[in-house]
């Protein structure tokens, strides 16, 4: 789906049109337009500083747009609307001197919960997130991953219809990341709409129903991962190649069925229709210089770099 297809929909839970937000001379959002359908896990993907967090803050009624319109559940964001929204920030919203249960109790009371309902919901979430044994521990004693899980628990405590997750896997190890993404995926099953601002493209590819690529404060493409990958060459070949010349790379680019050829030193990234047919010709172009070849199906990451651009990922060179 292209930008023109990202226009607001009547049934959208979030309907953003032409949002602008500036901090001094910097335009954090610059014509940000997006519609988020209900019940989806929606990924906001873009480099740091592209405006993802600012948009999340606006949806949570923490920031106001200088221009444009934003409707959440059909209303303009206001503090009262936060009863229907759970927000997990990029940085933890915790006091290290407080206990785990104490943190959830405070969060619950701020949302009007109290007594047995609050205790039951806290226990249920701590159990589901594998933190029941740590309920009486101070937050300062938790690992980075556990603190992120506590953040998820806090955001889910009042059973919001919309869950906003800003870089939920920042600073945690692989196993914790996997568990956290499983939790995120489970929320859509529970009927919630989830918005995830992340740089974790491979996980977003697996978990998100729909994604939007954000660049310099605006959405440059949005759709399902399959839609965004459509139009890409079918396969990606990553080659370790000793000193490729511009002439050799250009020759590869001219071959039938070849898409983009990019290089960074000895690493070359090529998109093709048919890797099996392409690889023998690669060895013809560079006899004796190829050290390794890896063939993968085209991924959301490839779609991301196509739309968001090169130079934002280590190892990417200038398109040939």
């Amino acid at each position: 789906m292209t930008l023109s297809a990202v226009t607001a929909e009547a049934s959208a839970i979030i309907d953003a049109r032409g949002l602008v937000r500036t901090y001094g001379d910097r335009r954090a959002l610059d014509g940000f337009t997006l519609a988020v359908p209900p019940g989806s896990v929606f990924g906001l993907l873009g480099p740091n500083g592209s405006g993802k967090s600012t948009f999340v803050s606006m949806v949570a009624a923490m920031e106001l747009p200088a221009e444009g319109s934003l409707l959440v559940f059909g209303e303009r964001p206001a503090p009262g609307l936060r009863r229907r929204v759970g927000t997990m920030f990029q940085e933890n919203a915790q006091d290290p001197l407080m206990g785990v249960s104490e943190t959830l109790a405070l969060a619950g009371r701020l949302f009007g919960m109290a007594g047995p309902r609050l205790r039951a919901r806290s226990s249920e979430l701590l159990e589901a997130l594998g933190m029941a044994a740590r309920r009486d521990d101070p937050v300062s004693s938790l690992s980075g991953g556990m603190r992120r899980r506590l953040e998820i628990a806090r955001a889910l405590l009042h059973e919001p219809e919309l869950l906003l997750l800003d870089e939920p896997t920042t600073g945690i190890d692989v196993a914790e990341r996997r568990a956290l993404w499983d939790t995120v995926a489970g929320q859509a099953g529970a009927g919630r709409t989830v918005i995830v601002a992340t740089n974790d493209l491979s996980e977003a590819d697996l978990v998100c129903d729909r994604v939007a690529f954000v660049r310099e404060g605006r959405v440059v493409a949005a759709g399902t991962p399959a839609e965004l990958k459509r139009g890409l060459k079918r396969e990606v070949i990553r080659v370790t190649w000793l000193s490729p010349s511009d002439a050799q790379l250009s020759e590869l680019g001219r071959m039938a069925g070849t898409g983009q050829v990019t290089s960074d030193g000895d690493l070359v990234h090529i998109t093709v229709d048919d890797a099996a047919a392409f690889v023998p010709r690669l060895f013809d172009v560079a006899p004796g210089a190829i050290r390794s070849v890896t063939i993968e199906p085209a991924s959301l990451e490839d779609a991301y770099f196509r739309h968001v651009g090169h130079g934002t990922r280590a190892g990417e060179g200038v398109p040939v």
């Binding site: 919203a93 915790q94 006091d95 001197l97 405070l106 009371r109 009007g112 109290a114 806090r154």
Partner: protein, 262 residues
């Protein structure tokens, strides 16, 4: 849902935070008591006690020490805004379905409570060691003193929270508080009588809100041989009026609370 549940949750949370910070708790009480012990006794020996309304400087300093306790306590309590911001928990407050004024009210009331308790503790610890007249009776005098202390702390905590929510750094906040509060303390009658000062200093003392707190506390504990600086009625009217004005202004103008500093 009203904001009362949120105010009480924030009140309890800040109270726990202050109680956990034992050093802050103890220093707020012991610093004024040390003033009383050392400055009070030291200066009493070198002055003619009969020139002081309380008869001796230690007794005279008690009202000032109580006011000083409230001033320090409100400053320390309001600095919790910066700790909340730096630890990250302020974000939790800001994504709750409440206006920033509810958050500030909850935090402010915790400061009022702890500041009032600390100030009353200083008064109760000092009282047996000095010769108060208790012109309104002990219970009556204590009741008046507690009322004055609560009004004073309401006013101080309100001002301190409003400043904290508008000043970016804790260092800047302490600088502004010290710059404003020390001259106010000196010109309040906390350390020396203000009724025989040169005209320009007396004018400054009369426009100083802390003067009315010191006066109310002095008149609650001892007679000073008359109606005091301005009299209890004016003292309570000024303290009450200012407290109401501070919170009314805070509620009328939405405080700016951010976690990003942007």
């Amino acid at each position: 849902m009203t904001g009362l549940g949120a105010v009480s949750a924030l009140f309890v949370r800040d109270l726990r935070g202050i109680i956990r910070s034992r050093s802050q708790l103890y220093s707020s009480i012991f610093t004024p008591l040390l003033f009383l012990v050392f400055l009070g006794n030291g200066v009493s020996e070198g002055l003619e006690p009969s020139t002081l309304p309380a008869g001796n400087f230690t007794a005279y300093l008690v009202a000032g020490a109580v006011v000083m306790t409230s001033v320090f306590s409100s400053t320390f309590s309001s600095a919790s805004y910066y700790r909340d911001r730096d630890s990250g928990i302020l974000r939790m407050f800001l994504v709750s379905p409440h206006q920033p004024r509810v958050i500030l009210l909850g935090k402010s009331l915790a400061g009022v409570f702890i500041g009032s308790v600390q100030a009353i503790v200083v008064l109760l610890v000092a009282a047996p060691f000095v010769d108060f007249e208790w012109q309104h009776g002990v219970l009556g005098g204590l009741g008046l003193a507690i009322a004055a202390v609560v009004l004073l702390n309401l006013m101080l905590a309100g001002v301190a929270q409003a400043l904290a929510s508008r000043i970016q750094t804790m260092q800047g906040f302490h600088l502004v508080m010290n710059l404003a509060l020390f001259p106010l303390l000196f010109l309040s009658g906390a350390f020396f009588p203000v009724d025989n000062l040169p005209m320009w200093l007396e004018v400054l003392a009369r426009v100083n809100p802390l003067s009315y707190a010191v006066d109310a506390l002095e008149l609650s504990a001892y007679a000073r041989g008359g109606a005091g600086f301005v009299g209890l009625g004016v003292d309570f009217a000024v303290l009450g009026g200012l407290s109401v004005a501070v919170y009314a202004a805070g509620f009328a103008r939405l405080p700016k609370l951010t976690w990003s500093g942007q």
